[in-house]
């Protein structure tokens, strides 16, 4: 017996939504038959604004593209500019960048721990992981001067060298997290509720995944080994030893397992970076920013973020201001075309969990 379809609006003001966006759900009973994403609530026209700013000024806007994990955006922009200009980056700066990126990855995963569990009604996890995330933010604060907006990785290198004793602090924090991750496992992965609410739900089909533009942990959660850090290595990732975890299944559960493992790999990378970091310069200085012109041409650089591939496409007409910058966010694909497909057939109660699991991040969609 076919039930009458109703339209449900999820968001923009909804506690279960991952940011300021809306999903229009057509439901029959509590089964979704059609989902439409509506975005635009956070459109600040960053790229338009960057055209009005010079190449250095444009850099400060970057971290606002995606607030939970701003560093990959900065990294992409810096690398795109360096690629276009042919600017060398000192070796030490590359290591520091990797350190930043991995710390940011951990920080973002801590938020995800909270969000994923929160979306299932398991609030304790959020109290733990988001609380613990502050220790990473403390590290950022010490290194960059800002908790959330680091504005640290910029064209030519990084802004400041590590403060004294910073490496030890990082290692101590990593020790702490290693201990805590066991607690997280007890609370989350061994939890029947979590297992039952995630296994077999929100499935991304493996055979379609690449074609649909799925990237990052979501693609790895389909059993496809794909990671820009290995496929298209940047900075010093090719000198570091780490594993790219994959899990077959394509559901929330396997994506969660991928992420669980990635936090551990991040810790591993951070330990290696601290150990291998050479001394030396940290910054290949740009000329006077007011008169810093980039050669005519374009460049695209991409970085592996927690949500997957994020990239920055820049076009220069040879002047001091960008002709065009265009940011590629993973959520641009995940939160619109992918989400709309995955949500079909899902249960209304699972929408929030699926959104969290797909890493929807509206600010990077509309920018």
């Amino acid at each position: 017996m076919r039930e009458k379809a109703t339209t449900l609006y999820l968001g923009p003001q909804h506690p279960g939504i991952t940011g300021n966006m809306m999903v229009r759900l057509k439901v029959e009973g509590d089964t979704i038959v059609k989902a439409t994403t509506e975005v635009g609530y956070l459109h600040r026209a960053f790229e338009k604004l960057q055209e009005r700013r010079n190449w250095l000024q444009a850099f400060t806007l970057l971290c606002r593209f995606c607030v939970p994990e701003p560093d990959p955006v900065e990294e992409s922009y810096a690398r795109a500019v360096e690629l276009l200009e042919g600017r060398e980056v000192p070796e030490r700066a590359k290591y520091i960048r990797v350190l930043m990126l991995e710390l940011a990855r951990m920080g973002a995963y801590m938020l995800w721990y909270g969000g994923q569990n929160g979306s299932l009604g398991l609030y304790t996890m959020g109290q733990w992981s988001v609380g613990d995330r502050n220790y990473i933010l403390d590290l950022f604060e010490e290194l960059t001067g800002g908790r959330v907006y680091h504005m640290y990785i910029w064209p030519g290198g990084v802004r400041r060298d590590l403060p004294e004793g910073f490496a030890d602090k990082v290692l101590r924090t990593m020790d702490y997290f290693e201990k805590r991750l066991k607690d997280y496992d007890d609370l989350m992965f061994d939890n029947t509720i979590f297992q039952k609410r995630t296994q077999g739900i929100g499935i991304v089909p493996k055979e379609k995944a690449v074609e649909w533009g799925v990237v990052g942990p979501i693609l790895r959660g389909c059993g496809i080994k794909s990671d820009i850090r290995i496929d298209d290595p940047y900075e010093v990732y090719d000198k570091l030893d780490f594993v790219v975890p994959t899990h077959e299944g394509g559901d929330i559960w396997s994506r969660a397992l991928v992420r669980r493992e990635e936090v551990r790999q991040s810790i591993r990378i951070i330990r290696q970076v601290i150990e291998k970091m050479p001394s030396g310069e940290i910054y290949n200085k740009i000329p006077n920013p007011h008169k810093w012109a980039l050669p005519k041409g374009d460049a695209y650089a991409r970085t592996e973020a927690v949500r997957g591939e994020v990239g920055m496409y820049i076009v220069s007409d040879g002047s001091t201001h960008p002709r065009r910058t265009h940011f590629r966010g993973a959520a641009y694909v995940h939160a619109i075309t992918l989400l709309e497909k995955v949500l079909v057939g899902a249960n209304v109660a699972d929408v929030s969990a699926i959104m969290n699991s797909l890493g929807t991040c509206p600010p990077e969609i509309e920018r």
């Binding site: 003001q13 300021n20 609530y41 600040r44 607030v67 909270g114 988001v130 609380g131 502050n134």
Partner: protein
């Protein structure tokens, strides 16, 4: 019913004391500032110590946190959300963008001066404000409530026409129900 002026005063004091200690914040992350709300609410800064906690729907909420810039599209929803909230209700402007446009002062899609559209009780400095600053903001709001000065909602009602005119300048297609509570 209490009609006597003095007893009304006492009731006010008790009411304000109670309101001050139960600030429920609407869970609406309007902008990037929302990223410092989870740390504020969770174990490290634990805003619940001060009676600050999240509320899922506008009708249960006391405080609307405008976490940064508002795009014109969000402004429409925010106005609607604000009008759905029941008295007493307060607005906190969070960060530079709410004061004078912040980074987005030249963007075609964000409003610059929040108090033209909504009555703001407290502004928090920063981009982004740290949890400590957020807590100070709540502290200031509590003080304001205790002193009986947190009358943004009253101002809004009294000057509704002025606010509406400003709002409608930005939102040409005004199809919204009127909430009269």
């Amino acid at each position: 019913m209490i009609n006597d002026k003095n007893s009304q005063k006492i009731v006010d004091i008790i009411q304000n004391w109670a309101r001050k200690h139960s600030i429920w914040v609407l869970g609406y992350g309007t902008g990037c500032g929302a990223i410092e709300i989870p740390p504020t609410m969770t174990s490290r800064y634990d805003a619940e110590r001060l009676g600050v906690r999240g509320a899922a729907t506008p009708r249960q909420a006391d405080v609307l946190l405008i976490t940064g810039y508002l795009t014109t599209k969000t402004l429409k929803r925010v106005i609607r959300v604000y009008e759905q909230m029941q008295d007493p209700k307060y607005v906190i402007g969070f960060g530079s963008c709410t004061i004078n446009g912040g980074m987005y002062y030249d963007s075609y899609n964000t409003i610059k001066v929040l108090d033209k559209y909504l009555p703001v009780d407290v502004y928090i400095n920063g981009c982004m404000p740290r949890p400590e600053a957020v807590l100070s903001g709540f502290g200031q709001l509590q003080k304001r409530i205790a002193e009986g000065r947190a009358d943004g909602a009253k101002q809004y009602k009294e000057n509704l026409e002025w606010y509406r005119a400003n709002q409608k300048k930005i939102i040409p297609n005004w199809v919204m129900p009127e909430y009269n509570w």
